[in-house]
Symmetry: D2
Subunit: 297 residues, 4 copies
């Protein structure tokens, strides 16, 4: 798969794990198969939605093995790698490559503030350890990494750092980056941005949790944007945004798992110490899915 450029809708997969810590392989496989049949262009296990922070290393490994196997080369798999330590992140990336992923989503966990040189060293370390393309993941909400425009631009010189996925919610800053990186790095939106707004200014797609739940509608929106049919895309985007409006009120990963349970995928509860949604939140989730026709009645 490695030769083809990444573009389109890459759902962030949830990590279904039972109460004994075992990866629920059957449901993960059926979810992968379902998403591919609905037309998604790639799959991203171990992003934020994948609760990577709450998984042990063997669980992370198993999740990615199952996804790679279930995808069977039909779409590229871009797996998350995340740590504070450079050697540990490098080790993870190498193991992911051995499992057979098509790309690495590089996430930098933080504890102490890290100076710009240290941030660059972290991402460069991962990229130089693997041969697959690397997607930089900036997420100022959950990880305090200071990935400044200057550092991102410097990282663009590393040949296989080819994509940026920004979860900052500040679309203006992202346009600034897109203007600066034109021709050097391709941009994916995260669910914190309005995907259509990013596509409009040159983005190549989105990597986001909600697309797990509304894959067909997401693919449709992507196609409209790619064909530059803006009037139809605007209507589709406004309608689809209803789901983000609810998700942003509650915790993202528990929301996606709750939605998938409602849709008939028994992915189970969020991984402790995260807690499942209750009462009013569940009701709102159900209503918004119904309003989008994403729930069989």
């Amino acid at each position: 798969m490695g030769a083809k450029e990444f573009a389109g809708v890459f759902p962030y997969l949830v990590s279904p794990v039972d109460s004994d810590g075992k990866v629920k392989e059957a449901v993960l496989k059926s979810l992968v198969d379902h998403l591919i049949k609905k037309g998604v262009h790639g799959l991203t296990p171990l992003g934020s939605t994948g609760e990577f922070a709450y998984l042990t290393w063997p669980q992370r490994q198993r999740v990615v093995e199952v996804v790679v196997e279930a995808a069977g080369g039909r779409v590229p798999v871009v797996a998350g790698v995340a740590h504070t330590s450079i050697p540990e992140a490098v080790r993870q990336a190498k193991e992911m490559e051995k499992i057979g992923v098509d790309g690495i989503l590089a996430i930098m966990d933080t504890y102490f503030p890290v100076p710009p040189d240290g941030v660059a060293a972290y991402f460069r370390g991962i990229a130089e350890a693997v041969s697959r393309p690397v997607v930089l993941y900036t997420n100022p909400t959950f990880s305090a990494t200071n990935l400044s425009p200057e550092v991102i631009e410097a990282l663009a010189a590393t040949p296989n750092i080819r994509y940026l996925k920004d979860a900052s919610a500040n679309t203006g800053n992202l346009l600034t980056l897109m203007n600066r990186l034109e021709g050097k790095m391709k941009i994916f939106s995260a669910s914190a941005h309005i995907p259509l707004a990013v596509m409009m200014f040159g983005g190549v797609g989105w990597m986001a949790g909600p697309s797990c739940v509304v894959p067909a509608e997401s693919v449709k929106l992507y196609e409209l944007a790619r064909e530059r049919r803006w009037e139809e895309a605007i209507i589709a985007q406004k309608r689809l945004w209803g789901i983000n409006w609810v998700f942003q009120k509650y915790a993202l990963a528990p929301c996606i798992k709750a939605c998938l349970e409602l849709q008939g995928f028994p992915v189970g509860a969020p991984i402790p110490p995260l807690q499942p949604l209750k009462g009013q939140a569940l009701k709102e989730i159900e209503e918004v899915l119904k309003s989008l026709g994403a729930l069989k009645v």
Copy 2:
């Protein structure tokens, strides 16, 4: 002017004040005249760019008098009103109405955190004291006011609260608001958003400092968006965004004043304790103006 709906490009005016604290009336008048001739649809004195926080009340009053007089009814004037205290904000709003403004931009300063009921009481207090339309201004960066979607929606029931101007930089949240407020309140973008992204989803224009410096280009972009000529609008927006990219690195008000000085409007230095731009910042400002053709050589 009151009968017409507000829409289009409303530059946030700077407040030119000399070192003795006197409003520089001649340059303010000539700036107003220049902007109207370039086609702007309204004028907004005493927004953030207008350094309202650093002006005394008599200075604020004089700035608005000069603007109203210079505009001479050619475009609507929407003046900023800002305080922590309800009676003081009400007093300001009434005096602004006497001066002859066409609308009030209502800003809530904060000191202690204020509960939602208190926030609603502040804005309702202003609106009920005047007969002109009121624009709610949300600015979580500089003012800690918690204008939640629920409070905004409740305020929409006050007849003359008719517009919302959001300076949050989070376009996703703004789309959520736009979806909820459809038919109840009209939305203006601030310079923290990409104006075209807001227009696309139903916004009616933007109130922003940068339009002081690139009025013709801003009006052109607005017209393209209004006529739904998206392909041309995208190109115009990407080009125009270069100016925000520089402004966001430095303080906004000092940037706009520096630009206007370069363009031949002697608006003077930022008002103390704000400090003027120096060295590298000034160079970058000059370069970006040149690249946009906004500087006579």
Copy 3:
């Protein structure tokens, strides 16, 4: 009074205002008289507890006039002055001096971030406009002013900037400041610090809202600390801290007003948009006052 150094317990006074915006003079006078009889060493109207941010200028003026008159020279009155604008703060300080205050508590409101030179100019501007001693007020929680150790040390060169009152809650940083400022500026604690911990390392007293409610106990603690009777002071401080523990859960100004009402001072409700305490909060307030013997049964 000006000749004597400020030291000891300076309660931050509440601002009793009725629903028409009139200062409730009788209750304010009786509170001032009560506090002086309980032994407090000074009075501070228009601090945070005084809800200065929610008062109009005429209300601020009237509050200070009443306090100065009621104090009648028995203890020094140090009045708060607060604005974003230098000329406006200077004007306020001059008017306060005319009313007859013994010192100025200088507070810097913020809107835009202000560079260090601008911060220094603000405080120096106030100090040079008056002949009374000035107390610098640092409050990073409610005002984003960057009063760095370097700026504070530079300000110590202005002859009448003689005191610092820190509301940062970070006692370690305050000790750093105390070490640096030894012999140049005297330090008052705010209610965010444990007063005894500040006294121990060289502080000269505290300016704080809770002392309005437990004046005799506060004076007793101060005397123990001044006489270096640490063992008794520790016991007194631990006991007295119970009140801060409750106040910090709820908003400070509404708490103090609620306490005074319970103690028989009809100071009224917090000033809108602030909201009065209710239910559980009121109960906790009552219990803690009882436990300290600060409520007649």
Copy 4:
């Protein structure tokens, strides 16, 4: 060692690692031996100062093995355990117990915000998996864990959760906790607090990086506080605080490593992506050590 209560000065040890990632065992052993000879009452590997976040698991394991062996039962060793995942933290704690530590310092890493029930489950999970005493570590600066007073109080019911080490810098909040937890949990200060202020109100000692560098002076201060010789303790504390004043300007772990290098312990550079101190910072570090007599000339 398990039978004795923890109390006194527990230096946070640095983790000396060479450029190949190998633990520098000789220097770590000699540091441990030196600190014990200087009188410290315990040792804490893998705290923040120990750069735990930048170590792989085998490195963490090796650091603790070396410390336990070098301590040889002379003082208790309390090792840090830190993760986002409950099973992973439990695994770490069990392995630490096997290595022979005397206590566990339980740190909760965060990614998503975790609700209070999840936070309690994390710490309870660790405590129930081991038989050694557990020290709760609250660090709102570097880890967003919401360890509210209510959750801490609930955790006190778990028999071996016996200590709390707070790194919040807010000594007032810590006194509130101390009042609530009296008789249920013992309190250690972190370097963000003034140790003497915590001891005064009932603390039993401190766990802090700076004590690595000034062990004898720290032990002396502890003895003065324990013997309630407050006047001498105040002088000692004010003097010793000079070192925190410098450390807080720069990154803590790089500072401690730089100090130890100056003192003749070749502990090496901070672990990437952290960066070593340079220029001015190094000079200030050297000066403060000299001023405290902590540097042989």
